[in-house]
Symmetry: C2
Subunit: 212 residues, 2 copies
Amino acid sequence: MQHDFRFDADRSHGGREIIGLPVEPGLVQALIASRQNISPKRLVEPGPDASQLGAVFEAAAAAPDHGLLCPWRLVLVPEHRRADLAEVFALALLDRDTGASLEQIEAAREKAHRAPCLLAAIARLGPAEPPVPVLERMVSFGAAIQNMLLCAHGMGFGGGLTSGQAMQSPRMRTLLALRDGEEAVCFINLGTVSKRKMPRLRPEAAVFVSSL
Amino acid sequence: MQHDFRFDADRSHGGREIIGLPVEPGLVQALIASRQNISPKRLVEPGPDASQLGAVFEAAAAAPDHGLLCPWRLVLVPEHRRADLAEVFALALLDRDTGASLEQIEAAREKAHRAPCLLAAIARLGPAEPPVPVLERMVSFGAAIQNMLLCAHGMGFGGGLTSGQAMQSPRMRTLLALRDGEEAVCFINLGTVSKRKMPRLRPEAAVFVSSL
């Protein structure tokens, strides 16, 4: 997927143009700052349609990836396979805690049926050529996920990342057909936001920035 | 840093509003797709000023971080400390290869003097409460880096990630005052793009997406 683009880097005037669309100063910051994590419980129909999901995947593909490794892959869990995922959530809980209550098992199962669009995000950390370090591959992976969340946000959808101990379960590995070196890291949930919460407090730059 | 925002999720009309700024359909996709990795050799003055850098840091702080761990930190390498970094690059090369040529040593040294704005990006992977898995922390870290790159791109700057074997050198750990559990993963280079290359081919979605 190659993109023709035109980028006017002249900062002497207020507006800038990316692919012929006007970008107001501050807009990208606002886009990034206004994205929130939306709990899957608050993500309802409609989810992205096929074309919108294609745009989300294209955004993922635009992540930095200096080794051209694409050190991640995505597995869509469509409606008709949610019951299989529910089974994995329930049995993985029982594997960890044979004394889990029926309510707990039902709650685990229910997690598979929330957001209209559900994608498993898998890191590919096995041997690779060139031998890009695992931490750098994870930076690519995190960047791809953020591109997807921002793309969905820009289209008016909400998104949220979910994870939990079931991610490491052998049952999850089997369901997602994970190969050696692959790790299921989280699920990406996308849909229409039914209810927004107050924006969360973000860390001040002073907490994470210093200077030599 | 809390953000008041207003997001009109009504998809019945073409435009949408984030903090009162118009977002044309396709703009966010275009923003993401048009970002390129720019080699530090092609990043020249001016770099972001203090206020623009503040916006870049604010974008980093808006990354997903479910444990509120902020599992990363940034160290700015200002102009007057570039020589110290150059020394680390040169000596780390000699540590790895005592037979390095003078040209190679000079080339290693020169890497510290390229982009007008240079930030070391450090992952914080030690014990933490809550005990968020390392791979999830790395997703947060990668997301924060992508937010920074996109924010800089939206302001008309170019950015590029650089790394190499010197990142793991004890000399680098000393320079950046890394603590236990911290890893220097890459440098973030920001500046004005002197010359753009052709957009790079991106992987097709079929390469990294499947469905259950």
